[in-house]
Symmetry: C2
Subunit: 245 residues, 2 copies
């Protein structure tokens, strides 16, 4: 009978990635069964972050990157004078913390916008495993590259789009990401405030609010505080491609 006792050294988390329903979205993409089992050894720690708490802050020593298991985050950079630039919103399956690799310190803040859980991926170990598992290495490079491409998209938002175009692009992006996670493409709850949306889009909260109202008047969406229903996705897309004549 004693032989059946599960050793304490094998925590439940041992099966972190191989059993995770996010494995098609997250770091394990493209790994074989066997390689997945190896990844389970790398990702042996999870961390709960309550709404409003920081996962890390600018200046913190960089030691790990984080995969979001559940929940929703924002990342931001603060200027001394209090101005905030939200650099992104992250949801389940997405990776946080890659900003810290270059300087060995985090360069932005990551804040949970709802109670969340992340998988801790110690970075030195990730590099070790990457040297053994080329599929992991390659996929990690893809994840970083996509972060760069995503950032270019935000630059386009901020650099050349008008307020309503920015908000339309933002809503369509959220819709697409919720869809990829099996949620409704047309109906969802925003986790962030108008102020945070504004900070991300380079607009003031009043401008965001007015744009929401305008979209509703035009029948593109229904807004009820944080609840959004997209009624005319094509109309929103048209806003993006249609430029003033």
């Amino acid at each position: 009978m004693h032989a059946q006792v599960v050793p304490l050294s094998v925590p439940a988390l041992r099966e972190a990635c191989s059993q995770c329903n996010l494995r098609e979205l997250c770091l394990p993409v493209g790994l074989s069964e066997n390689e997945l089992d190896q990844l389970d050894q790398l990702v042996h720690l999870r961390k709960k972050i309550h709404r409003g708490q920081h996962l890390y802050r600018g200046g913190d020593a960089f030691e790990a990157i984080y995969a979001i298991k559940t929940g929703f985050f924002k990342t931001d950079v603060l200027l001394e004078d209090g101005r905030e630039q939200v650099t992104g919103f992250q949801m389940a399956g997405e990776i946080l913390g890659m900003d810290g690799i270059g300087s060995e310190k985090h360069t932005c803040n990551a804040v949970a916008l709802e109670d969340s859980e992340v998988c801790v991926i110690p970075f030195t170990e990730l590099e070790e495993y990457s040297r053994e598992i080329s599929a992991l290495q390659h996929h990690f490079h893809k994840v970083m590259s996509r972060e760069i491409v995503r950032d270019h998209g935000v630059m386009m938002l901020l650099g050349i789009m008008r307020a309503e175009e920015r908000l339309a692009a933002f809503l369509l992006n959220l819709s697409q990401r919720f869809t990829a996670r099996g949620y409704s493409p047309t109906e969802f709850n925003l986790r962030m405030t108008r102020n945070e949306i504004g900070s991300y889009l380079g607009l003031k909260l009043e401008t965001v609010s007015r744009a929401f109202s305008r979209f509703q008047e035009e029948g593109l969406i229904t807004v009820h505080q944080k609840h959004i229903q997209i009624r005319d996705a094509a109309g929103l897309k048209k806003l993006l491609s249609d430029r003033r004549v």
Copy 2:
């Protein structure tokens, strides 16, 4: 005598990185003598790009990243309606092309702003070498991470700074990068047009021109077309930290 004939398979470029005076800025940072010699095998091809020519275009198959040996580039993304967002300006020692890893296609254009030369780094081979040389692996990760952090800086420019703050930040950034390459911190020639600066900073060319004129009136810089002389770097920095009261 014949034994001394150098085989044709050993081109001059064999000593690409180990002899390059940019090695303290570029991909080889932190490598040992021995590892540098290995890197020479990876970087066996150079490419000249004339002013105005593309190194790659959005949509091109991704096969390699590029280290700038000499010259100056811009990267940009174009919208169907012709609007352009310049996502960055790159100079000697900097790496181009990492946007393509994620989708196996380039997602932006890279254009030479002066006659330039790049070292071609075939990406599959870079990954192979990275699995052998952990210092190379780690440094490549740092390079990608810094690109992400740089992009966050651009988002701050675009999202929360006013026109003159943006231009001041831009000039100080150029100055700092020229300094790192052994050039004067206070005097340099811009390689890009007012229009390209504007596209990078999310401003119209007229606004850029006016801001230059204003800086000159205030004694912060001297401008003569593309020639810039910084007369009061502290004053420019002050513009960044001083917020309207």
